[in-house]
């Protein structure tokens, strides 16, 4: 296989920190869109979070939504243009804190959209505060002594939470912390788009992702953190597949 830039990504530098998982996830989304030949039918949403500028990287139509509300906006788009392919790309604060209601209800309505959910266990853009997915005892700028499950609750497990909803067609948790994981993540993302193309309903891929900057570790250590700690708290796998 020749390794080239997907057509769905512009030939440009991103603003992401070195070792950040967003760039890898972008590539996987773009690659899936290329492989499915749907670029000219795609409308994506940009979140409020580190990926807010994704319209500078994605070579397709994009709308920049308010914090957490991408699933509602995507609902509006998809209902008006049912034959277009609509995806949201959201961080954990966006999807599982401020936008929890939109996430759950969009999933429950079975909206035929694809959600790419980047779980990096922290608020990247605002400088490293606790996220709903921050792990117990993880230090952040608002949990200086580590997240205390008694005080802040345990991390929210989005795939597990959504798996009880009948409207959901496909849920898988993947990681971008090793070459093997990246390949699997790419397959999951492509499958999620395929489900949308086939009209199967709501699909979400949760991507465990690195944020070395706000975790205050090196890029290499960030990979270890995902592989050793996050994968334990957030087990990888398929949580729902309506087939």
């Amino acid at each position: 296989m020749k390794f080239t830039r997907p057509e769905t990504l512009y030939d440009t530098q991103t603003h992401y920190c070195s070792g950040c998982g967003h760039g890898i996830a972008h590539r996987l989304v773009a690659q899936a869109i290329d492989e499915l030949g749907i670029r000219e039918r795609v409308i994506g949403t940009a979140p409020v979070g580190c990926a807010v500028l994704l319209y500078d990287y994605f070579n397709c139509d994009i709308i920049e939504c308010s914090h957490g509300r991408s699933p509602a906006a995507a609902t509006g788009i998809k209902r008006c243009l049912p034959d277009r392919i609509v995806f949201t790309y959201q961080g954990d604060g966006d999807l599982a804190a401020i936008g929890t209601a939109e996430t759950i209800h969009t999933a429950n309505r079975g909206e035929n959209i694809t959600v790419i959910f980047i779980n990096n266990a922290i608020y990247g853009m605002t400088g490293g505060q606790m996220a709903p997915t921050t792990m117990v005892s993880q230090i952040t700028t608002t949990t200086p002594d580590g997240r205390d499950a008694q005080l802040q609750g345990p991390p929210i497990k989005v795939c597990e939470l959504l798996s009880s909803l009948d409207g959901v067609a496909y849920l898988e948790r993947v990681s971008v912390s090793s070459p093997k994981d990246v390949i699997k993540a790419g397959q999951a993302i492509k499958k999620a788009f395929q489900y949308q193309i086939d009209g199967k309903g709501f699909s979400l891929v949760e991507v465990l992702s690195m944020c070395p900057t706000d975790w205050k570790v090196s890029p290499a250590k960030a990979l270890d953190f995902v592989n050793n700690e996050m994968k334990t708290a957030f087990p990888l796998g398929v949580y729902k597949d309506a087939g």
């Binding site: 409308i43 397709c60 139509d61 994009i62 709308i63 920049e64 788009i77 008006c80 209601a101 209800h105």
Partner: protein, 356 residues
Amino acid sequence: MNSTTEKLFIKGNEVMCEAAVRAGCRFFAGYPITPQNEVPEYMSWRLPQAGGIFLQAESEIAAINMLFGASSTGTRCMTSSSSPGISLKQEGISYIAGAELPCVIANIQRGGPGLGNIRGSQADYFQATKGGGHGDYRLIVLAPATCQELWQLTMNAFDYADYYRNPVMILGDGILGQMAEPVEPIPYKPIVDLPDKDWILDGCKNRDPRVIRTLFLRPSDALMKHNLHLQDKCHTIQTELELVEKVNIDDAKLVVTAYGSTARIARGAIQMARHKGMKVGLIRPITLWPFPYVPFLEATETAKKFLVCEMSQGQMIEDVMLACQCKRPVEFFGYGGGWYPTSEKIFDHIQAVYEE
């Protein structure tokens, strides 16, 4: 009456829905709240019938963001709510205004603050006309006084929204929403030449990708330039779109002013005054933004006083005072909290402040 002439006898809330659908509205998202529940109820069967989409959203926040998406596809879209729900929509409205997406938002006002009550009210004037959400933007705000006018202004609202690429608010109240009266359903005809929607998102087939942007980080003056552009648009709207009704003001010594349902009630009071030989007129702003400042200034030539009536503790009065440039005293009569005026009460007040 011609026997083929269609007449509707439905509530204001339903008048607004039917007019919207006939004006080409094909997307509605909303969340139940009294006194506007007939709106989502009507839309839930009427829009699918017209090939449109109705969504009962999980919240007003979701509803306005569904419009954000729907509007970006070029679809004529609408949401409605009442005061507390409109408060929840404000962040979304700011984004829609910033992104210059057309849509229609109805506020069938109820008493506030807080959960308030479910009676009609006009206490959201500031919120509607002075911002509401964050940032420098304006809504076009229309204030119908009768069901017939609601029919027409609802249709016009979609045209203004598309023409100026700006959200439009229909500022009604619980009285207008709940009142049923005969309406002649005048067919929809665009009141302006509608521009092509060459900005919509529908997939980038045979064109470059488009971005609907609400963030302007770089260069550092990008947002300032965007704000200047929005400001220019506001100035254009101000020069092109000021709707006002003037009744008996040429010789008026006292000019009563009110909007919406209150104006309708005030009209009766003015008739009573005229019967008694008192020179009283009415200025009824139909657009609350842009506010029709000029007719007030002109009226200061003959009028000695102004009397503002509102179902609030006094909000529009600030614009009337600005319009009169302190040349004449401006009196106020009104209460918030779901109080309703009667023509008799307004007439009593006219008698109390009137000077020949």
